[in-house]
Symmetry: none
Subunit: 284 residues, 2 copies
């Protein structure tokens, strides 16, 4: 493990100004998106019923934590390269991958909380569901990390093993959420149903990005390239851009959906979301 | 005292990239955890009865202060090392241990305040209890610090003496809190009792970390190693990670418990915490 991390540090490939800047800029844009989403979610709590405010508060925390981590990720990115001879070369400092894991450790359980909080299931049921989801989320992240830091071809089998172990709680979470979201549809107001169906889909699509990225970073070819110091620059750029877009959708986009669901379920605002009048005329 | 501090500065051991990064990353994660906890506690005040809002406000202050200090502790950690020859070496600058003591001086008395505030004891009783706890907390920290900065084998006896003196108010606080929390159980609503029992346990377990860390750092072997410049790197890593985890639990985790207790004791929210409907169905 020690070796693989120093390999990673030494293995930052040369990037063109364009490649370096794409990643640097998408990180900055993610900071702005997460920060704006946090302000929106915190200040929108007063627009929904008391019962749904904790859901918006927790959604706001998720994007706040992500905002901090993307600020730090960008800082680490800038420290990992130096501008030389018209391009960017590795500075010798490692690009800190742990920020993403620290972010997931904190935010994935909170994403479970915001979803269960907005569904408002029966007492007892919510607690049981939440406990299972949070434990599974912690296991998923803890089991993925030892594999993520492996970056030598000899470690390929171990990386696949950690990935496979991590996939068990991953699929368990998606399965439980899909089943529970589907089951909950009957008890939800009509206005919220469509939104919950969208949330179910967003969850499935955005979450799929993470195991795909994990798998692409761990193919034998990718590991051999890392070990030989010939890391494919476009692979790194694609991975970072992919993670950033997935995080924006799975956190800020998902938080927005939680807001719309909370809004649809709040009394007196049925069917009207933003800039729309309800069944009753706006001016009496 | 001056001498022993400079010994500490000179004694920063060589760390591998992995060892340095574990500590650096757990500090960053602690900043994120404390910051998120602060936002949560400040914004959750409106979800509890007026009477419990001061408890949440003070809990929010504790994690805000800790967030600031961990940001500074991390800054000091990064300044105490330089990346050289594939590892980290002492830069000559001291890793500033005083941040932890400054943090404790401010937050430990506030932790007493948040706990007593959420219990809502009889007038007069709360004031007397709080006065004793706050004075004891100040004594505990003030008496521990002179021992903490001793790092030469000649100072061993003095270190043990300061540690023993500091332990008197330490055990006094734990004893008083245990007795008072147990006594208060009868007067608390059923929904809050279980939570107060958990709070009692969290207090006992997390607080135990501090004297253990103090004792391990002050054995004759540890002091001889420090004096000889052969500080055990894994010992330093374990100590910093241990303190960070204990602080996250004793401050952010404890603050969350205070929120749940306040929530359980607030009118009209009995039995429902997050994501659950109370006795009445969600959809009428």
């Amino acid at each position: 493990m020690l070796e693989s991390i120093s390999v990673l540090a030494a293995g930052m490939p040369d990037l063109s100004v364009f490649q370096y800047s794409i990643v640097d800029n998408i990180f900055s844009m993610t900071v702005a998106t997460m920060g704006a989403a946090a302000i929106f979610l915190f200040l929108s709590r007063q627009s929904v019923d008391e019962a749904y405010r904790p859901a918006l508060l927790v959604s706001g925390l998720v994007v706040s934590i992500a905002c901090y981590h993307y600020f730090m990720i960008r800082h680490s990115w800038q420290g990992a390269f130096v501008l030389a001879e018209g391009g960017y070369k590795g500075s010798g400092a490692a690009f800190n991958d742990f920020y993403r894991y620290a972010d997931w450790i904190l935010t994935v359980p909170l994403l479970m909380v915001e979803l269960v909080a907005v569904l408002r299931l029966q007492a007892g049921k919510a607690t049981s569901l939440l406990t299972r989801l949070v434990v599974a989320a912690a296991l998923m992240i803890a089991l993925g990390y030892p594999g993520e830091v492996i970056s030598s071809p000899e470690g390929w089998a171990a990386r696949v093993m950690w990935g496979a172990l991590s996939s068990i709680p991953f699929f368990y979470i998606l399965f439980v959420l899909w089943v529970e979201l589907t089951k909950s549809l009957d008890t939800q107001p009509v206005a919220a149903r469509k939104l919950i169906e969208i949330a179910r889909l967003v969850l499935l699509i955005t979450w799929a990005v993470y195991p795909i990225a994990y798998a692409l970073g761990g193919t034998m070819t990718a590991l051999e390239a890392k070990a030989g110091g010939n890391v494919d620059p476009s692979g790194i750029v694609a991975l970072q851009v992919g993670y950033a877009i997935a995080d924006m959708t799975a956190k800020a986009g998902f938080g927005l959906l939680i807001y719309f669901i909370a809004r649809a379920k709040s009394k007196g605002s049925q069917g009207y979301v933003i800039g729309e009048t309800a069944g009753t005329p706006a001016v009496a």
